[in-house]
């Protein structure tokens, strides 16, 4: 087990290397020039060239890539072209809102979607099942920003129940913090809920056909014990797999959600950095996201062993 974890953690290194190469190359071939943005409309080509040289953008591709990688290995993500702040500092300033949004969305989505899928499977073919499936289709097909604006319009503007937008740090209290995250979490989570509910329903339908469910019934267990212990624990592996894959959805969706609800998180930072061609920031954030994703999936693989004793590493 321990050896497995070490091996998996080491295996993240080549993954990260490939991600780094990709991000760097994409930005290299993408049009747009940060020097031109900095210099402004009135600058002469000479001014732009001078800025390019001072930023080191005139050096060849491999040299720039090598220098960047060398810095990362020493724990330095570089300095933002625009703010002159270290990228790591900028990420630190913006990470709390994004992390909060993701965690709240994750908890909300799992605690809504799993019971929904279980009940739909148990009551297969009834109106409850059809309602869950209809909701799932809706969740897939309506984009995050539509859900976000509709929610904000009704819950914040019309009924004045929750704040329209913004973010309150956790340090200022649990409720003010949560209040600002409920609508964004629902908006961001709708696809995620749909995904998890569907896979839960499908897996549960299969599990409920198994002989050991009949045994559980013959033992006199009530429906709750059968569904949530005997069946759900057997259905857990596909469900948590999807939860892990869904983290990628959350990362992508966070960028949009943060824009809709004006949350000063990493998603906003990324969008702003892309618009300004702030290469070190873009590279740093993408690298961080992919690192988180790899770690989450490692955690999920390890979580399999908690639910299924037949899986051993």
């Amino acid at each position: 087990m321990f050896a497995y974890v070490v091996r998996r953690v080491l295996a993240t290194i080549p993954v990260m290397a490939i991600v780094a190469l990709f991000v760097f190359s994409l930005l290299y071939i993408a049009p747009g020039d940060p020097a031109a943005v900095i210099a402004g409309d009135q600058a002469t080509p000479d001014d732009v060239e001078r800025i390019r040289a001072s930023l080191g953008l005139d050096r060849p591709y491999l040299v720039r890539f090598g220098a960047w990688v060398w810095d990362i290995m020493r724990g330095d993500l570089g300095v933002s072209i625009f703010t002159n702040l270290p990228v790591s500092t900028m990420i630190r300033q913006r990470i709390e809102p994004t992390l909060s949004l993701m965690v709240v969305t994750l908890i909300l989505a799992v605690s809504i979607a799993v019971p929904m899928g279980v009940v739909a499977a148990w009551r297969q073919g009834t109106w409850i099942d059809r309602a869950v499936m209809a909701f799932a289709v809706l969740g897939f097909s309506v984009p995050v920003f539509v859900v976000g604006y509709v929610l904000a319009y009704f819950f914040a503007l019309e009924w004045d129940l929750l704040p329209v937008q913004g973010y309150t740090p956790f340090a200022r209290g649990f409720w003010p913090w949560l209040e600002n995250l409920i609508l964004p979490a629902i908006a961001l989570g709708s696809v995620y809920i749909a995904l998890i509910a569907r896979i839960t329903r499908a897996t549960m339908l299969e599990v409920l056909q198994q002989d050991y469910i009949r045994t559980a019934r013959a033992k006199g267990l009530n429906q709750g014990g059968i569904l949530f212990l005997h069946a759900l624990k057997n259905a857990a592996v596909p469900i948590i797999t999807v939860i892990g894959i869904g983290i990628a959805l959350l990362i992508g969706g966070a960028v949009v959600t943060e824009s809709v609800f004006a949350i000063p998180g990493l998603g906003r930072l990324t969008v702003d950095a892309i618009l300004r061609r702030d290469y070190p920031v873009i590279q740093g954030v993408v690298l961080l996201f992919s690192f988180v994703y790899v770690l989450v999936n490692l955690a999920i693989d390890l979580a399999y062993t908690l639910f299924d004793p037949r899986i051993r590493y």
Partner: protein, 330 residues
């Protein structure tokens, strides 16, 4: 009063192409401490009968009618909650497939202890201690270690022992065993049968043994019910059934069992078989259900369904031509 009395049990399933009469008017009883075998070939309704007793048939599409009286109380009128209090407690069940009947993600101890906690209100610790005792009782070595293991760490025979331990944990009055040895190899079969017989004497439970294996019947049963196409066609004490079977179907079943040394007697005889298949249970058959396969069938058989008649003491058969004593008049 009998422990279990089943009267005109009908279990029908609604299917897209008609009603499947899986069990169609079966009556029998089981006395306390007795072993009753229900035999018949695949698809004759024996398993559905067993599942109906505990009302484990999904309703709909299933529908159970008639009466199932356990200690005088009709289970078909019991509420869901009352049924749950009976299942695993007063009546428990062992299934055919030990490989798949245990939950793969829960420890053996938990699965045994669960019924104890549920029906006897034992604490987690007390339930585990009792689970160890139960494993010892069903002959699993190193019970203390095994109790923490998962089903995939046990062999098929061991798993069936665990199933028996689960079934007997609450000292049920009735144990329904649905082909408990079919999926096991022969030496393990014998061990499991010995175990069941031994435990039956200790616990004093009555057993309803569902099987198609006549060897098993001869070994453990006291009385036998023979089912065919959802109906009871013969019922007799075990010796009477083997010595003088009255129904042609029973005779066919017994004839299809190979006898030890039969090929050494000189005449290399073929095993007798019953030609044809069980008729579809979706059509109502006006006459005798076995008429289409019966070597002795006459016009009367295809027209009029024979009633169950007592042919000898405690020996009933549903056949127009089965005589009161002696062989078939053919």
């Amino acid at each position: 009063m009998a422990l279990l009395e089943i009267e005109a049990l009908q279990t029908h399933f609604r299917t897209p192409d008609g009603i499947n009469r899986a069990v169609d008017g079966v009556s029998f009883h089981v006395n306390a401490g007795e072993t009753l075998a229900i035999v018949g070939e695949s698809g004759c309704g024996k398993s559905v009968t067993a599942m109906s007793i505990l009302r484990l048939i999904p309703e709909p599409p299933g529908k159970i009618a008639g009466a199932i009286r356990f200690n005088g109380r009709n289970l078909l009128e019991a509420s869901d909650k009352e049924m749950r209090a009976i299942r695993g407690n007063e009546i428990s069940m062992i299934f055919q497939e030990p490989m798949t009947s245990l939950n793969p993600v829960l420890t053996v101890g938990r699965q045994i202890g669960e019924t104890l906690r549920l029906h006897q209100g034992l604490s987690a610790q007390a339930a585990e201690d009792r689970a160890v005792e139960m494993l010892n009782l069903v002959g699993i070595p190193e019970a203390k270690r095994r109790v923490r293991e998962y089903p995939h760490q046990l062999s098929g025979g061991m798993r069936q022992r665990v199933m028996i331990a689960i079934a007997l944990a609450c000292n049920p009055k009735l144990l329904i065993a649905d082909e408990p040895t079919t999926a096991l190899d022969v030496t393990i079969q014998a061990q499991i049968l010995d175990l069941m017989r031994d435990l039956k004497h200790r616990v004093g439970a009555a057993i309803v043994l569902i099987t198609h294996d006549l060897g098993v019947v001869a070994e453990v049963a006291e009385r036998v019910v023979v089912m065919y196409a959802g109906k009871k066609v013969e019922e007799a004490p075990v010796h009477a059934l083997f010595n003088s079977p009255r129904h042609p179907y029973t005779q066919g079943l017994l004839g299809s069992v190979p006898k030890l040394g039969s090929s050494l007697t000189g005449e290399a005889t073929r095993l007798a078989e019953i030609p044809g298949l069980v008729p579809s249970l979706k059509q109502k058959i006006p006459g005798c259900v076995f008429a289409s396969r019966c070597p002795h069938a006459t016009e009367l058989c295809t027209a009029v369904a024979p009633a169950l008649e007592e042919k000898a003491l405690g020996h009933v058969a549903a056949c127009h031509y089965a005589l009161r004593e002696g062989a078939l008049a053919a």
